[in-house]
């Protein structure tokens, strides 16, 4: 009874006004924005700290041509496309490799030393190497096509390579962890219920390891996104949100630079949220299991 009473009074309160916990997360960002604006007015130099109105106007006109590099949308799309391609390659390579390493001790012993050797190497350390080896060769050029007049012309192999390295270890290590952590009891249960090796793999090992694999994909995509920005800042690139940051710095167009940073943050957030939603759906049993 008393619990019910408390509940209803809480309800009526929230009907009158917005409860505090709802807006709690907005308080600090708002303070940050206000402080930024005060600082911008005080410094009074748009080449150093741009006013928020200028930044907002860049974000609110995403189709406007910016400093001769294409629109904000276009540059974001180019970056996103590069990330998706490199990430896809990482998934296609690392998930099966992780499954093999997680299920076969032989393959694990064979591959693991190499993995441990490369693991401490930050993906960014590969950038100069990739630039030297792949130069500015695009993906269509790899197949002998000079120009396709599509977004593919902006996707350089070197960048795909860097993104691949960004996604590689989180995906690989989480997949190994997930697959080798499948409980013996489940495997024996499937055996005594007549599961063949192939069915055991698809119906027990994969679903049991899926929550960990999804965690790997989420972390991997996050790192891939971070790494592309760094890769695009290097000489030789001509588009992408990371390139736009560097280029607007050179032109002292700080409002574009800050707008790009906001877009990068929002995109990373959205990518993570998207995968989180998928992950929650396939992993709900793991969270609720006793």
């Amino acid at each position: 009874m008393s619990l019910n009473g408390r509940d209803s009074s809480y309800q009526s309160k929230s009907e009158n006004g917005i409860p505090l916990h709802r807006i709690q997360g907005l308080i600090l960002p708002l303070i940050f924005i206000v402080l930024w604006e005060i600082l911008a007015i005080w410094v009074d130099n748009p080449a150093l700290i741009p006013r928020l109105t200028a930044v907002l106007s860049v974000i609110l006109h995403p189709f406007t041509e910016l400093v001769g590099t294409g629109s904000l949308i276009w540059n974001t799309a180019v970056s996103l496309f590069r990330v998706m391609l490199g990430f896809a390659v990482a998934v296609v390579v690392c998930v099966p490799l992780g499954i093999f390493m997680g299920t076969s001790k032989f393959i694990h012993r064979l591959v693991n030393p190499l993995v441990e050797l490369f693991r401490p190497l930050c993906p960014i350390a590969w950038i100069p190497f990739a630039m030297a080896v792949f130069k500015t060769t695009t993906v269509p050029q790899l197949f002998g096509i000079r120009y396709t007049d599509t977004i593919l012309d902006s996707v350089q192999i070197g960048m795909v390579f860097i993104i691949f390295w960004g996604g590689l270890f989180p995906i690989l290590l989480n997949t190994i962890h997930g697959v080798s952590g499948v409980r013996g009891l489940w495997i024996e249960t499937a055996k005594v219920l007549g599961a063949s090796k192939a069915r055991m793999f698809w119906k027990v090992i994969i679903p049991a390891a899926l929550p960990d694999i999804m965690t790997g994909l989420r972390v991997g995509l996050g790192i891939s996104w971070m790494v592309i920005i760094a890769a695009e800042m290097l000489p030789g690139s001509d588009s992408g949100i990371g390139y736009l940051i560097m280029y607007s710095y050179e032109l002292a167009e700080m409002q574009i630079l800050v707008a790009c940073m906001i877009v990068i943050g929002l995109m990373g957030f959205a990518l993570n949220r998207g995968l989180q939603t998928v992950s929650n759906r396939v992993s709900s049993w793991k969270a609720l299991e006793r």
Binding site: W186, T189, V192, L193, R199, W285, R290
Partner: protein, 250 residues
């Protein structure tokens, strides 16, 4: 229904450093088709190992499993095992768990579904088809595990202390449910337990095993009409007899 023969099963384990444990030493056991057998014995007597050998999860060092005198090449096909631990696949709903063994056999989906619903009804869980394992109590999870084992349609149903983790009331209720199912489906059941009361209540015969090396000490016939009354003089007499036999094993 075929008779099961366990002939000269021997199983050794090696534990470092160079210690050899004879888990099972020349086990011979004949089980009539449709018979309910209880295996009882102290911890370490190899009753679980014997069950795992019949289930095809362990390979004996010597000896064989025969059905009507013929060697069995695929034990997973003729038998299945219900574990003591909760073994439902947590990513599958109740009905998906029960459909699992039928899926392994390639039975079409509609038929799987219908038969799974029947098995779920048989263990008294109609209406819980869509539930997830973690939403069920321990007793309900073991009911689903039994339904899933039945869906495999084994000739021999092996049970390794399946009610060991349950409280007494639930345990009694599941014992009655199991006897009911056994009457309807006429399976050969080998039931491992360390609970004398449970063994007498359920089984046609109780096999008492000794430890180090694991051997059959005594084969006790439970000549009591079902349903059995735990308060009957003949029940308690048998209880003492099995207890005595067990005391001698230690």
């Amino acid at each position: 229904m075929r008779n099961l023969s366990i002939k000269g099963i021997q199983k050794q384990f090696f534990t470092p450093p160079d210690r050899q444990i004879i888990a099972l030493d020349q086990i011979d056991l004949d089980v009539r088709g449709g018979e309910f057998i209880s295996l009882i014995g102290p911890t370490g007597c190899g009753k679980t190992t014997l069950l795992r050998i019949i289930a095809g999860l362990e390979i004996p060092n010597s000896g064989e499993i025969l059905l009507d005198g013929m060697p069995v090449d695929d034990l997973h096909r003729i038998s299945t095992l219900v574990f003591q631990q909760y073994s439902l696949f947590p990513w599958c709903s109740v009905i998906e768990n029960v459909m699992f063994p039928m899926e392994m056999k390639g039975i079409p989906k509609d038929e799987r579904q219908n038969r799974a619903e029947e098995y779920i009804a048989l263990v008294g869980l109609s209406g819980a088809e869509k539930a997830q394992p973690y939403e069920l109590s321990g007793g309900m999870q073991q009911r689903v595990a039994i339904a899933r084992a039945l869906a495999h349609d084994p000739e021999v149903l092996l049970m390794d202390e399946p009610f060991g983790a349950l409280d007494e009331r639930t345990r009694h209720r599941l014992q009655n449910a199991l006897l009911d199912i056994w009457k309807k489906k006429r399976k050969t059941i080998i039931f491992v337990t360390h609970n004398i009361d449970e063994a007498i209540y359920l089984a046609d015969r109780i096999i008492v095993m000794t430890t180090e090396p694991g051997r059959i000490q005594e084969d006790v016939l439970v000549d009591l009409k079902r349903p059995r009354n735990r308060l009957d003089a003949s029940f308690t007499e048998l209880h003492l007899k099995v207890r005595n036999s067990l005391e001698r094993t230690v």
